[in-house]
């Protein structure tokens, strides 16, 4: 074999702590290495061209690039060597940046380590074989998980592009968090007026199949061919018959149930439609509070329903859908702020969350848009907003900024003044983060036009007390760190900008999708800069806050971006499968079936070969994990590009007695 080695400086990223010239020189001593050089930026156009030239000039049939992580540029260099006529799999990378130059400053040790990593790569390369991808069909349908604004945008864009969409929403209506908002910053647009046309589009678009009040049971398969099992939770109402007339809701005697859509502010009936513009506008019975389902006594809704849609004996149904790609847009939930004692630990009735306050402001909310505090219905004249509740707080393990709270707090302060002109709002803040278009101007308006008093500092306690007039007040004590003195404000209502985290159930969903998630429940993108919409599982894309905190316009953009990714994927008549998959040496296979037992994908089947049982890999199903390879005692099944001999070559290069 004739191997060429290219050691990259990566500007000074590698060169500063690795003697790349010495690495190149050393590698000339390795078996089969006939050419070695160091280059400034191997991934640049001249850098890649120099590889192509060297391949031709020195008749190379294998190339090692020592540079950054293969997770960064393996695909780039595979294309480069292919351009010069070498099979892309006759290429290896030595990661001397992330695993060497960036993690230590000892130049001698780094140079030695880099040289060894090059040896590792070239020893593996000597056992590489050319590999060729297979082609397979793709199911041109997409699953969108989550019916918030990001999922809606993704679904509409995909549908617009001619792709069939299956949307799964776990609550009884789509709309997500945006549907709960009164107005949106910085335009003070009516949130539902902006959103409704889109939700209606979803319900009317022939390309979109909506499964509301449903959850993902399981997902199997692979890019282009996923099989999704969806649990349609029992609504006890036949939605094909329900017209959304609302008679059942009027007559339902179980009225005192916490209203989830209104964030627990106000009550609702056991059978309900979440809000007037709900899509689908269908009633759902919540079994835990329904008298008929819980105690067997009642049945009023069934009596009054004009279409006979009520079905008390309904059970969950599991349906199956075939899709080629998945967009997750599961959004967020607020962190559990009731663990925070300084804000009353959830025990003070007039300390509400930002989302609850949205419902108090909203005309469709429990107070019909009149600000009335929950405990006694008083119209508040003094409102304290506290930002960064459960955000940017290392002491409770929440170091990150929740991103949009500065802006909605300013909006809520402005709306408070609009609703109650004689009111005064105070905002406790840490820093004001308003980097969006027209955002800073907006927060300034809150201060300057609406007279909101911004106090830089944290709140230490909220103490309820009875004022001389007998009304309960809330003494908010905090620090003004700009003035360097304590502050006390007697508030009628306190609004907390509660930090956000990945939606409840995000981790479980991530496990079903086989994508990574972080400790806060946010899904991990494939690359933080260059692949913010992709995941490490091919065919699964991210949109909206499920990937990390972002505001509405950014969520919508990411929804569109995810849709664009899906359309790009589906634009090809066939997909190419990764050739790094298992293959069977039929002579060595004794047909014991251990590989079949362990394969997570049922990608290996037993076939009969001249009367003897043998294993056979289904190429398009195999994902190349190599579990079979590690299980087969004869080594008859090997995963291409990570065969026993390739890994043994690496072990042997490092460990020689």
């Amino acid at each position: 074999m004739r191997i060429g080695i290219f050691v990259c400086h990566c500007g000074s990223n590698i060169e500063a702590t690795v003697n790349t010239a010495a690495v190149a020189k050393k590698s000339l001593e390795y078996p089969d290495v006939v050419f070695a050089t160091d280059t400034m930026y191997t991934c640049s156009e001249p850098g890649q061209d120099s590889i192509v030239e060297a391949i031709k000039e020195h008749q190379l049939d294998g190339v090692v690039v020592a540079s950054c992580s293969p997770r960064m540029h393996e695909a780039t260099f595979r294309r480069t060597v292919q351009r010069a006529g070498i099979n892309p799999y006759m290429f290896e990378m030595a990661n001397i940046r992330e695993h060497v130059s960036w993690i230590g400053k000892d130049k001698d040790a780094n140079t030695n380590k880099s040289a060894e990593l090059v040896l590792l790569a070239s020893e593996k390369l000597r056992n590489n074989r050319p590999l060729f991808p297979q082609q397979f069909d793709v199911t041109k349908r997409v699953l969108v998980i989550g019916g918030g604004v990001a999922g809606i945008q993704a679904a509409l864009d995909c549908a617009d592009g001619g792709i069939d969409v299956v949307m799964v929403e776990k609550t009884a209506t789509i709309g997500g968090k945006m549907a709960k908002l009164d107005k949106t910053f910085p335009t003070i647009d009516c949130s539902s007026c902006v959103l409704s046309p889109k939700t209606v589009d979803v319900s009317q678009n022939e390309k979109i199949t909506l499964h509301a009040y449903s959850e993902i049971e399981s997902i199997s398969g692979f890019v282009g061919n996923f099989t999704v099992k969806i649990r349609k939770k029992s609504t006890y109402v036949d939605w094909t018959l329900c017209t959304g007339c609302g008679s059942c809701i009027e007559k339902c005697p179980s009225k005192k149930n916490p209203d989830a859509f209104n964030e627990g502010i106000g009550t609702t009936t056991a059978i309900n439609i979440p809000y007037p513009q709900a899509i689908p506008k269908k009633a759902t019975i919540y079994a835990d509070v329904c008298r008929k389902l819980r105690d067997g006594k009642c049945g009023v809704c069934a009596k009054v329903c004009p279409t006979g849609a009520i079905k008390y004996d309904m059970v969950d149904e599991i349906i199956e859908e075939q899709v080629g790609a998945v967009i997750t847009a599961t959004g967020y939930d607020q962190m559990d702020w009731t663990q925070l004692g300084e804000y009353g630990a959830g025990k003070l009735p007039d300390v509400v969350t930002g989302l609850q306050y949205e419902r108090l402001l909203s005309a469709s909310g429990p107070t019909e848009g009149h600000i009335k505090r929950p405990s006694d219905g008083l119209e508040p004249k003094s409102v304290v907003f506290i930002q960064c509740v459960g955000s940017r707080d290392k002491s409770i393990g929440r170091p990150y900024c929740s991103g949009f709270c500065c802006m909605y707090t300013a909006k809520q302060a402005i709306l408070t003044k609009d609703h109650v002109p004689e009111s005064q709002s105070y905002v406790f803040y840490m820093d004001i983060r308003a980097p969006g278009k027209m955002y800073d101007e907006f927060t300034r308006r809150a201060m300057e036009e609406y007279g909101t008093e911004y106090i830089r500092g944290r709140v230490s306690t909220i103490q309820p007390h009875i004022r001389p007039d007998g009304v309960v007040g809330y003494m908010v004590r905090g620090a003004d760190t700009l003035l360097g003195q304590p502050v006390e404000i007697d508030a009628d209502l306190v609004v907390l900008a509660v930090g956000v985290e990945g939606a409840q159930g995000a981790a479980q969903l991530a496990e079903k999708l086989r994508i990574s998630y972080d400790q806060y429940g946010f899904f991990m993108e494939s690359h933080p800069k260059l692949k913010p919409v992709e995941t490490n599982t091919a065919g699964v894309y991210l949109a909206g806050v499920c990937q990390g905190v972002k505001d509405i316009p950014t969520s919508v953009s990411q929804g569109s971006a995810a849709a664009a990714k899906v359309m790009a994927l589906f634009s090809k008549p066939k997909l190419q499968s990764d050739p790094q998959i298992a293959f069977v040496d039929i002579k060595r296979c004794i047909g014991c079936g251990k590989c079949i037992t362990v394969c997570p994908y049922q990608a290996i089947k037993e076939v009969s070969f001249r009367g003897a049982p043998k294993a056979e890999v289904v190429g398009t199903v195999c994902q190349g994990c190599g579990l079979c390879n590690a299980t087969c005692p004869q080594g008859a099944i090997q995963v291409a590009h990570f065969t026993d001999n390739q890994l043994l070559a690496e072990v042997n290069a490092l460990c020689q007695f």
Binding site: E98, K113, N536, Q580, G624, Q634, D644, E650, F657
Partner: protein, 481 residues
């Protein structure tokens, strides 16, 4: 390649591409300072890491091996790390018996977002390996020579005569014979103390069947060769466990096998008989009865009590009766309780230090002639002609005549049997050089028992633990460094 001026130790890492390799990249991107010793080998999944790679590295001079994968439940391939967890834990528990400090091998889970955790893992593991120092090398440890093991007392009465139900057994076989391709049994071998396995296909051949303390060979060994044919087999307790294991692994079909079970009163260790005879003695006849056998050799008579000549495994046998049978002949033998099933070699090894154990195996392997009799005698060694030890692709072993290569074959054999070995100890009996190779399998066996509460060959409904997984493993706790 040399370790840098003794400033570094040789540490090999196997990292899954999706989580831990990404975590190491994340650490790098964050410029998280780390020791320089670790050399990372990228694999698709921790489930790809055959424990033999780790053994290979440790046998060939690695001072430490680190395996890292996705967190359980977060595997990119859904299940790979669940299998890895079982296999790696079992390996870690196995290591001390060959003289390798288990602390030199660590496995853990690091996600792609956990750069900081990766930094901690690498730093702590490297520091720990530096504390342990350079690993002892096979080439440097002194070989332990002339080891003698103590005889263990039998936990049950051992018999030495012909089985009383032999006539009944022959009748049963003759009855079944017309429907079968043949029935596996034993007949008299080339001299009176040696029996040999044979396939009975005629009534005359059935009459040659013998049943007594000389029937040492495990007849389950021959069943996979006859797979697909209707075949009968005569089994004692230990053989029957292999029949079960072969059925569990679907290497033979239950409907194809007719099992004639009998209780066993113990078998002899030929080598112990021969040791009591002059080297030039020619064995003429053997008479059994009472508590021993009387061997006539070159005209002289020798009384040999079973207590002195029985195989070690028979002395400690708790399953003398066939655990599975279609026909069971005679009365079952008493099934004793046994608290310590370790054969003498394992008992001895347990008293040694790690370095002495390495020296022990070095001394033993110096005798190994690579005849692979151990492999041929093993009923669970089903690869036969396709054993990796004879293969160039994959090339786990070279044909070099070195202690390391010979030992590595034994490790391959033992690792392949982990969770599958029923403890028949045929490997050790078959060894012409008296190397106690069963100790390696017994070490795996007791660790499998400890971790999974599992013994191979007892339950048709069971699954060898290393071919399965649990979401939560009761006895595998994640270790801190």
């Amino acid at each position: 390649m040399s370790v840098l001026d003794d400033k570094e130790r040789r540490i090999v890492g196997f990292l899954c591409n999706w989580c831990s390799y990404g975590g190491a990249d994340t650490a790098g991107t964050a410029r998280a300072n780390q020791p320089t010793d670790l050399r990372i080998i990228r694999v698709p999944c921790s489930g790809r890491v055959n424990p033999l790679f780790i053994l290979k590295a440790l046998m060939n001079g690695a001072d430490g091996v680190l395996v890292s994968g996705c967190h359980p439940r977060d595997c990119h391939y859904a299940l790979g790390n669940f299998y890895a967890r079982r296999r790696l834990e079992t390996l870690k528990e196995f290591l001390p018996i060959i003289g390798i400090n288990p602390e030199r091998f660590h496995y853990t889970w690091v996600s792609a977002s956990e750069g900081q955790r990766w930094q901690e893992v690498v730093t702590k593991f490297t520091d720990h390996i530096h504390k342990l120092g350079a690993a002892p090398k096979w080439s440097e440890v002194p070989a332990l020579k002339d080891v003698k093991f103590d005889l263990v007392d039998a936990i049950r009465p051992l018999g030495c005569g012909t089985h009383p139900a032999l006539a009944e057994l022959k009748a049963e076989i003759k009855k079944a014979l017309p429907d079968l391709h043949g029935v596996l049994g034993w007949r008299k071998g080339y001299d009176a103390i040696h029996a040999e396995p044979f396939l009975m296909q005629t009534e005359a051949e059935v009459d040659e069947l013998i049943w007594g303390p000389f029937n040492v060979q495990n007849l389950a060994n021959f069943l996979p060769k006859h797979a697909g044919k209707k075949i009968g087999v005569v089994v004692k307790g230990c053989d029957s466990k292999n029949v079960v294991e072969l059925l569990v692994e679907k290497l033979i079909k239950r409907e194809d096998v007719t099992i004639f079970g009998i209780g066993c009163n113990g078998t002899v260790d030929y080598k112990r008989i021969l040791a009591k005879l002059p080297e030039d003695a020619v064995i003429e006849s053997v008479v059994g009865g009472g508590s021993g056998v009387k061997v006539t050799a070159s005209g002289k008579e020798y009384d040999m009590p079973m207590a002195e000549i029985a195989q070690d495994k028979c002395r400690l046998c708790v399953k003398p009766n066939a655990v599975i049978s279609d026909v069971f002949l005679g009365k079952p033998t008493i099934e004793p309780e046994c608290e310590d099933g370790r054969l003498p070699a394992l008992r001895f090894l347990d008293t040694l230090t790690l370095e002495e154990r390495m020296g022990f195996w070095k001394g033993q392997m110096e005798h190994c002639i690579r005849c692979y009799a151990c492999r041929s005698a093993c009923p669970q060694c089903v690869c036969r002609d396709f054993c990796v030890s004879d293969s160039r692709d994959p090339e786990w072993l070279t044909q070099e005549d070195s202690v390391e290569q010979k030992m590595f074959f034994q490790l391959i054999h033992a690792q392949h049997l982990a969770g599958r070995c029923t403890g028949c100890a045929e490997c050790e009996r078959a060894c012409p050089m008296d190397i106690p190779v069963f100790a390696l399998k017994q070490q795996f066996g007791r660790m499998i028992k400890k971790i999974f509460g599992y013994s191979a060959g007892l339950d048709l409904e069971s699954m060898p633990p290393l071919l399965g997984y649990e979401l939560e493993e009761a006895n595998i706790k994640e270790r801190d460094l």
